[in-house]
């Protein structure tokens, strides 16, 4: 059940994950960065499931380019609009596997996902692979590119 409180809680979690590094200060920087982007990926899933565009807004750079499973390209504004579209009702967004590679102030996350829900009352079920590219700007990790390809085998 989606409530305003839940939305705020996710937004706060995202803020903590993106801005606060003190909890991970003792871990090697690379490991901490890896953990952080993986946590942000999970926060993204939750936010998308709950249509929490405020939380998504905080983890995406304004320059984000999103390529959907059908090859459609979206800006950040387009993507956020698609998430909150009333016709779309995501029910589940599962991560089957995820791997992150950190390159200084950049990171690449590869993820296999399975989603289901309804669009305009019609059910959908998809499984695919994502590549998300993240950059760290002023200590905050932001996603700048995300591409999705269906797994057809």
């Amino acid at each position: 059940m989606r409530t305003r409180t839940t939305g705020k809680a996710i937004a706060v979690t995202v803020l903590i994950l993106t801005a606060c590094s003190s909890a991970m200060a003792q871990a090697p920087e690379l490991r901490a960065s890896r953990s952080k982007v993986i946590a942000l990926e999970h926060a993204w899933n939750q936010a998308e499931e709950r249509k929490d565009v405020n939380a998504l807004d905080q983890i995406m750079d304004d320059s984000l380019v999103y390529t959907d499973y059908d090859g459609a390209m979206m800006s950040k504004a387009d993507f956020l609009a698609s998430v909150k579209a009333p016709a779309r009702h995501p029910e589940q967004n599962l991560t089957e596997s995820m791997d992150a590679h950190v390159y200084g102030d950049g990171a690449v996350v590869i993820r296999v996902y399975r989603v289901k829900g309804t669009v305009n009352g019609k059910p959908y079920l998809r499984r695919g692979r994502f590549t998300d590219t993240w950059i760290k700007r002023n200590g905050t990790w932001l996603c700048v590119a995300s591409q999705n390809t269906l797994i057809s085998h």
Partner: protein, 151 residues
Amino acid sequence: MEKLLSVLVLLMLVPGADAQLAVVPAQPAQEESRLLGLELLWNQAVQAKDTRALEILIAPEMVDIEYDGTLLNRDLYLASVASQSVHAEHIGNESMSVHLYGQIAVVIGVYREAGTESGKPYSRRGRFTDTWVRRSGSWLCVATQSTLIAR
């Protein structure tokens, strides 16, 4: 031809190498041009099955997600390019845009590829996202993904 491509790739990788002015940091516009050049050389190397040139462009840990969702590491990707059952006759990019973030760059574009696979013709059009990392002054691709554009 293969040697020529490899030399071109090496020249394109290092900012300033072509102008012998490595002490002067490359400007964003120069970096964009360089990355666009590397993307074009990549296409040429695939068509020529020049895996040596590709080895120079691609980081050892590169991850490739193919148009059907298959995940390939660098070795598997190079083997797929070298495969004698696949002949890419034409690979062209319709559009490309470069986004620079310091030592990270993202190139997004639309490609069109035609050729034969096990003797059967194929034609594909899709969107790609390539993530490049500047390492020791050279740009290396660390991730590439392709998604077919639905018609």
